[in-house]
């Protein structure tokens, strides 16, 4: 019954929008006396305008609901309210940041900020904040990441309102054994982001070098490397990583090398296969250029060819891949930690934090401040991923624009 009425409502809504779209275009044509904008507007575009408007109205309505006096209604729209507030807040912050960038700095950086879209300045702002938090975690975090606070209750809800199970000293609450969530989030930036960065760099060193080597030399070396990479890529990467991590946990105990080192190497090797493929493909397009032929005929060595002739022309796609790969590595580490073989407790890690507190997500419908605890770490992951992608998009756009 519920499902049927849902379908019925959706159908009514879509038909309504379809009719409104037609009316909107017709009225537009009448009122503006066939201005080209309305005259040449395809029906799909008119439909899109009305659909967009309906969604916008629903968002505004939902936001008002989230401010409702009745907690039953307000709780339902709690996350929507936060999302809208966050969206607007970040948009304003990004805009101010761009204004700042345009006013302060060298002529080059000012020019950069002038042509920067808002998404990119948002991305850069977020990345700067993360870097800042990661570097100065020790100074910023109010408590230690491993510190179980004596005399403080476990599972304090976020929000700092005692009536809802919060505590003003712990604005983001405490976890299941009474550690401060905010401190752990800040240290998590250091651990997760730092390790992910090192891993990605290692993956690029490996994959990039071998990829360019295969592209430049070709022949049997290319065959051997490429088939080896094919074999590695044929195994599902997360399961492969899990397997290797299980083996490594035994070695790490006998050899006395921290498991984290093993994790970095394992993920770097697995991810370097993707980098290899890209570097080889990009490299192959570059080695056929006449300037490479000219350099070969000059008698230049392999190192010069790879790093002075090919690399500068491959930076744009590699940089874009770096951004994406960083996100994937980061998510892999979070997944491994979530599964219990990644970054080991008591080190704070966002993936582990989501896993440890995952049970609270069930309370989302009626006690949003309690359920937000695991989602904070997940949100931190999501925010960084989105930010990095925005910056990468912008860089790609810029580098392809320069070529014209």
């Amino acid at each position: 019954m519920i499902f049927e009425s849902f379908i019925g409502n959706l159908a009514t809504l879509l038909i309504g929008i379809a009719v409104l779209g037609y009316v909107f275009r017709a009225v537009g044509q009448r009122v503006t006396q066939n201005a080209p904008f309305f005259r040449d507007m395809p029906y799909g575009v008119a439909f899109g305008y009305v659909l967009g408007l309906v969604i916008l109205i629903w968002l505004v309505w939902g936001f008002m609901q989230s401010r409702s006096e009745d907690p039953m209604i307000a709780n339902k729209f709690f996350f929507l309210g936060i999302a809208i507030q966050g969206f607007i807040g970040f948009a304003i912050a990004a805009w101010l940041f761009r204004l700042l960038g345009r006013a302060v700095g060298t002529a080059g950086s000012k020019k950069l900020f002038r042509s920067m879209p808002l998404t990119a300045s948002f991305g850069i702002l977020v990345i700067i904040i993360y870097i800042f938090l990661a570097v100065f975690a020790g100074a910023i975090a109010p408590y230690g990441q491993e510190e179980i606070l004596q005399g403080v209750a476990a599972n304090i809800a976020a929000g700092g309102d005692p009536a809802l199970g919060g505590h003003p000293d712990f604005p983001l609450g405490t976890d299941q054994i009474g550690r401060d969530i905010m401190s752990r989030l800040i240290y998590g930036a250091q651990n997760t982001v730092g390790i992910a960065f090192v891993t990605t760099v290692l993956a690029f060193l490996l994959g990039g070098t071998f990829g360019f080597l295969a592209a430049t030399l070709g022949g049997w070396l290319d065959q051997v490397l490429s088939r080896a990479v094919d074999v590695l890529m044929a195994i599902p990467s997360l399961i492969f990583a899990l397997l290797l991590m299980t083996i490594a946990s035994v070695w790490s105990a006998t050899l006395g090398i921290p498991l984290t080192i093993f994790m970095i190497v394992i993920i770097a090797v697995i991810d370097s296969t993707r980098v290899y493929r890209l570097a080889r493909a990009v490299g192959q397009n570059i080695v056929v250029m006449d300037y490479i032929e000219a350099a070969k005929l000059r008698g230049e060595g392999l190192g010069y060819l790879m790093f002075r002739e090919i690399l500068p022309n491959a930076t744009a796609p590699l940089l874009a891949e770096f951004g994406l790969r960083f996100c994937f590595v980061f998510l892999t580490i979070a997944s491994l930690s979530f599964l219990g073989v990644g970054i080991q407790p008591p080190l704070a890690d966002w993936g582990t934090m989501v896993r440890d507190l995952a049970g609270f997500i069930n309370y989302a419908g009626f006690a949003p401040t309690a359920s937000i605890t695991p989602l904070l770490a997940a949100g931190a992951i999501a925010l960084l991923t989105v930010a990095v992608n925005f910056v990468v998009d912008w860089m790609l756009h810029k580098s392809s624009g320069l070529k014209e």
Partner: protein, 545 residues
């Protein structure tokens, strides 16, 4: 009037501002008339041609003026009205047919799209009509060629198939955008003859865009000359050719007059700088060269002429060592060189330098001009610091690009001719005795190309360099060569001093090549067709050999 353009201003967006492309050009075209649009690259020919269809590419806008087609104002017409015109009454033939056909559909599928979409003909009728058009354009096997995919037919045939496609709705106006620029001379002449015939037969008006004056002389009733978006002059073809009024037009006409003085014959018994002896070469198992032999003497230019696929560039690859020959040897100053470039010494590599056709791909786009030139100097002579900089400045002086202005630029900040000069400087930096010039002027405008040829000639006289000049343009051969080698299908057909080569009697193939080069005389094509017959020109004639 079919097309009337009044005071048209077009702007293109770059560096966040709108820059003028066309500045207030007027254009009139009667029914059945062919208008030639000529100018250098960047003159706005193509943009103007597209604007005549009421179309602008992305990043281009019409800022002022009017374009009307048969009384319809194209700039204010609705999208629906324009859809009814484009393809049906106005058609477009692009420069590269290979890039303009969709590789995933058969040729005839693409041909019938316009007539069936516009509801002019049924599918079956349109297919029949397509075959009739293919027959008229003298495509081989007209009943079946349409059922092939674009990659299965040659470039010249594809260009004719595209012309047939433009004709499919019998439009009133066709825009030809450099339809023969990428073709060999023998292929070009066939396409030209086909286009001219079909345009005359259906009394179609056409705008023919090209940078080749000799081509436009054959095709157009009237010629309009553009320079950087401004109209220089317009006149009917014969008046324009015999009595141009503007300085710029005169300079365009004069380009082809450059010719080097005859040199004294080579001293008998002199050791050639480069000797190619009995070279056979193959790509994998496909043989490409058969018993190629010729000598290049000091201070001489040997032009290697032939169509694409004749083995000109492969010969160059054998000399440089990129493709070790199967048989035969290449000696340098009397000394036999290792076949593979990897086995050659640094000094042997230094002696042979190359200048490429596409300066865009020959210069690393991420390296500055100064570094491009200084690398070979440093690599071969070991100069560093001030001495290196001084040598680079000297080289840049030689190619007439002052180091003060150009040292720190990237290749993307240079024009085509300037890039080619940097390529020359890079070759000179190695202080070679011998330079291979692979179609160095074919991607350049005629005025710029002439500048490059003059520069090369001057450098040859100053440094007594030897050139191997690969080209398919016989005008270039006439300008710069001392000796000529004609190649066909990987064999040397004929060779000898330039003077002998350009005076009859010729080898049959050389004769065909020479006779296929368009001349400025507007009656040239008509006379040639009358002389030889329509089936005896171009590739058809080559096939008969």
């Amino acid at each position: 009037m079919l097309v009337t353009i009044r005071d048209l201003w077009l702007e293109g967006r770059s560096d966040e501002t709108w820059n003028p492309i066309i500045n207030g050009v007027d254009l009139d075209l009667k029914k059945g008339e062919v208008l030639g649009l000529i100018g250098e690259s960047g003159a706005g020919k193509s943009t103007l041609g597209l604007a005549a269809m009421g179309y602008c590419r992305d990043g281009v806008r019409i800022s002022k003026g009017s374009v009307s087609f048969d009384g319809i104002d194209l700039l204010t017409a609705s999208a629906a009205v324009k859809r009814g015109l484009l393809g049906k009454r106005i058609a477009y033939v692009a420069q590269s047919a290979a890039a303009s056909f969709n590789p995933a559909h058969k040729i005839i599928e693409q041909h019938i799209e316009a007539p069936t979409q516009h509801g002019i003909m049924s599918r079956a009728d349109s297919e029949q009509d397509g075959m009739a058009l293919y027959q008229k354009l003298r495509l081989p096997d007209p009943d079946n060629i349409g059922f092939r995919y674009p990659h299965q037919v040659s470039g010249g045939q594809l260009q004719r198939a595209m012309t047939a496609m433009a004709m499919s709705c019998r439009p009133d106006l066709i825009i030809f955008d450099e339809p023969t620029t990428a073709l060999d001379v023998t292929t070009q002449i066939e396409v030209l003859a086909a286009i001219r015939e079909i345009v005359e037969e259906y009394n179609t008006a056409a705008i023919y865009i090209t940078h080749d004056l000799a081509v436009v002389a054959q095709m157009a009733d009237r010629i309009k000359v553009l320079l950087k978006g401004d109209e220089v002059e317009t006149a009917d073809t014969r008046t324009m050719l015999s009595a141009p009024t503007q300085e710029y037009t005169k300079s365009l006409w004069a380009v082809r007059s450059f010719e080097r003085p005859l040199k004294a014959p080579v001293v008998a018994g002199a050791v050639p700088v480069v000797a190619v002896k009995g070279v056979d070469a193959a790509y994998g198992k496909v043989p490409v060269l058969h018993d190629v032999s010729f000598d290049i003497h000091e201070g001489r230019t040997v032009a290697v002429v032939g169509e694409s696929g004749s083995g000109k560039s492969t010969t160059a690859r054998c000399i440089t060592g990129l493709l070790p020959p199967k048989a035969g040897e290449i000696s340098f100053g009397g000394e036999v060189m290792p076949a593979d470039y990897r086995k050659r010494t640094k000094d042997q590599l230094r002696q042979v330098q190359m200048i490429y056709q596409m300066a865009d791909t020959a210069l690393n786009p991420r390296v500055t001009v100064g570094n491009i030139i200084s690398r070979p100097v440093q690599f071969y002579s070991g100069l560093t610091g001030g001495a290196l900089r001084k040598r680079v400045d000297e080289l840049m002086e030689q190619i007439e690009l002052p180091a003060a202005d150009y040292y720190n630029r990237l290749p993307s900040e240079l024009s085509g001719g300037q890039k080619q000069r940097i390529g020359i400087a890079r070759a000179l930096a190695a202080e070679p005795k011998f330079i291979i010039c692979d179609e160095v002027t074919s991607a350049l405008d005629q005025l710029v190309a002439e500048g490059i040829l003059r520069l090369l000639a001057r450098l040859q006289d100053e440094l007594s360099l030897s050139y191997m000049f690969i080209t398919h343009d016989l005008a270039t051969v006439r300008a710069i060569a001392d000796e000529v080698v004609v190649m066909k299908d990987g064999r040397v057909v004929e060779q000898g001093p330039k003077h002998d080569m350009f005076t009859p009697p010729h080898h049959a193939y050389t004769d065909l090549l020479l006779s296929s080069v368009p001349e400025m005389d507007p009656d040239w094509l008509t006379n040639l067709l009358a002389d030889r017959g329509v089936d005896n020109i171009g590739d058809a004639a080559v096939d008969k050999m």
